[in-house]
């Protein structure tokens, strides 16, 4: 269901909308003032009612995550914001930092207060220089206005927000690798448990939230959690509110669009994205490269009334509302909600080779199944792309992928293996053509 709104993106077209002057004129920081006058437990409750599923890719309910934090005077809590936006195809958090940094800061203020933290770090990938600049400027303006520091809004709950810079490592978008990086080390993920709420940054209780998740917080407080959640047509699945949807690749109008949760891929690609820029749709990766591909020919198979997908039984997967649970039930993921679209003039083997080269480069190297397995799959698909591999090697990708999944320290293993397995399974014919020395009709190109 296509329901565009201008809530999160309200400031995007306002001239100098990133300044305090513009933000306050539009009613900014009223939510933070209101929240800091509420009991912390009530703020958390509103967040739970808002059904904000983590916008970083995992879709974990943010309010529930906040509820995991227990006060401990010996170990002060921290709020850490994940703005490492590195998932291929994803470019939404950047728009918030560049065009509405005050919304992000206001969210950090409310979130810090809710979980009992007095310090918040926004971990921004190094390459997003304008984002960092705008965030720092917003922090300075907020301090000058008395919204940050020792007495925000004249109260006694001190809050400081800092921007922390990355240094070029996709894996630092994984929350525990991010914490390692924040501590000044190599970004190597930790085993969970313990979870960040128990032992996070500097060994202290920590909540890590994606930047878009924290940016939704002022609106949740302003509207009330339930009202925010009910914007969504998937409210009954506890997947609430509005969010940023992205689309890129072979569409006429790539970009970031705001809509209520419940938008479908067909609406994203053809209504918002303007339709195919060339050829016909061959495949769509729904939410960043770590999500298995969906084909337009696939139909929903959910005859059981109790199934989440039952309302769309028999329909095209393109007509299923994009939600955390709906996409998971389709065998893929909502992920970052930024879709990558490719046409029938594209070689699926080249698509996979491009992505496996990415994962091979970005593996932190700690665990053998990922470090060796991803490299192995990359070598095989590179051979296949050049018409050199064999069907045996093609089949071996399944064994290697299954050997990675479930056997790694972090979800990077699944994030690289699942899309690989999805592509070789759903485009079997193209891969077999390459494996038997016959180039596929797209001839190995991505941008023909």
């Amino acid at each position: 269901m296509l329901k565009p709104v201008k809530i999160l993106t309200k400031m995007y077209d306002v001239p100098e909308g990133w300044t305090m002057r513009a933000y306050e004129r539009a009613g900014g920081y009223q939510a933070a003032k209101k929240a800091l006058g509420m009991p912390q437990a009530t703020v958390i409750d509103e967040m739970k009612k808002g059904n904000v599923r983590g916008r970083g890719g995992a879709g974990f309910p943010a309010g529930v995550k906040w509820g995991f934090m227990k006060p401990d005077p010996q170990k002060p809590a921290y709020l850490v914001i994940n703005a490492d936006e590195g998932e291929p195809g994803t470019f939404k958090d950047r728009t918030l930092m560049e065009k509405d940094p005050h919304r992000c800061i206001e969210g950090c203020i409310i979130g810090s207060y809710a979980i009992g933290a007095h310090v918040c770090y926004i971990y921004v990938r190094d390459e997003l220089h304008l984002s960092k600049e705008r965030l720092w400027s917003a922090i300075r303006e907020a301090k000058d206005r008395g919204f940050l520091g020792a007495h925000p809004f004249g109260g006694n709950y001190a809050i400081e927000v800092y921007v922390h810079t990355g240094a070029g490592a996709y894996i630092c978008g994984e929350e525990t690798a991010l914490l390692e990086s924040l501590e000044g080390k190599r970004g190597e993920p930790r085993l969970k448990p313990p979870f960040p709420a128990q032992r996070g940054v500097f060994g202290n209780p920590t909540t890590v939230n994606n930047l878009e998740t924290i940016a939704a917080v002022p609106t949740v407080i302003e509207m009330g959690g339930e009202a925010f959640s009910k914007l969504s047509s998937l409210h009954h699945l506890n997947d609430g509110g509005c969010r940023l949807f992205g689309v890129s690749g072979h569409v006429k109008n790539p970009g970031i669009f705001e809509a209520c949760v419940g938008l479908t891929l067909r609406e994203l690609i053809y209504d918002l994205g303007g339709g195919m820029s060339r050829g016909e749709l061959l495949g769509v990766i729904p939410g960043g490269s770590s999500c298995p591909v969906l084909l337009p020919s696939e139909k929903v198979n959910a005859p059981d009334e109790k199934s989440v997908l039952h309302p769309w039984h028999g329909q095209s997967v393109l007509d299923v509302p994009l939600g955390v649970d709906t996409m998971r039930n389709l065998g893929t993921m909502l992920g970052t909600c930024c879709a990558i679209v490719f046409s029938d003039e594209t070689c699926p083997v080249a698509v996979m080779q491009n992505l496996m080269a990415f994962y091979r480069h970005e593996s932190c190297g700690q665990c053998t199944p990922c470090r060796e397995g991803v490299g192995w799959i990359d070598r095989i698909v590179t051979k296949l792309l050049h018409g050199e591999g064999s069907v045996d090697e093609l089949d071996r990708i399944h064994d290697i992928g299954n050997g990675i999944m479930g056997n790694t320290i972090c979800a990077f293993g699944e994030g690289s293996a699942m899309p690989a397995l999805g592509l070789v399974r759903k485009f079997r014919r193209h891969f077999e053509e390459h494996a038997t020395g016959k180039p596929c009709s797209a001839g190995g190109r991505l941008d023909a």
Binding site: F91, E127, H164, G168, L182, E183, I256, I340
Partner: protein, 159 residues
């Protein structure tokens, strides 16, 4: 010769220390300061960072070698990073890369003979809706055409 930070950067470093409960957390920000000054992080700079933070030089080297954007060796005056990941590749990144190689007369990973430009490829730079694109030093250039690439590269080579 021992590495020292400029007075202004030393002041920045002192401010950075106030943000964290441990000195070690200032490692990456401090490495960025060193790299801003020299263009890369030398062994001497690594020793300096180690001393400031109470880390072993080998630990600092471990951090330096982990992160793509920290240069352990000198690079050109300008770094040109062309994104090659899927969304950009679907919209012509391969041609942009080839065009840069021809225009600069180097392969990816190499520096022009006059030391002005190092050409590199990058993984997803979060610019997928404005592809193809490249990052030159700290600036993004998006929705690239060959003509635009020529303008950008010519400016870098003339300066």
């Amino acid at each position: 010769m021992a590495f020292v930070l400029s007075a202004e950067r030393e002041r920045e470093m002192s401010e950075i220390f106030t943000r964290y409960p441990t000195r070690k957390a200032a490692c990456i920000p401090l490495l960025h300061l060193c790299q801003d000054q020299e263009g890369y992080v030398s062994e001497e700079a690594m020793s300096y960072v180690a001393e400031q933070l109470g880390m072993a030089p080998s630990q600092v080297k471990g951090v330096v070698t982990f992160y793509t954007l920290v240069n352990p060796a000198p690079v050109g005056k300008h770094q040109v990073w062309v994104c090659k990941t899927l969304s950009c590749a679907l919209r012509g990144a391969k041609d942009i890369i080839g065009h840069c190689e021809k225009r600069l007369g180097v392969h990816v990973g190499e520096t022009t003979k006059d030391g002005k430009v190092t050409l590199r490829t990058a993984e997803c730079l979060a610019s997928c809706g404005t592809a193809p694109m490249m990052q030159v030093d700290k600036k993004y250039y998006e929705n690239l055409t060959s003509a635009e690439v020529d303008r950008i590269l010519d400016r870098l080579l003339e300066a």
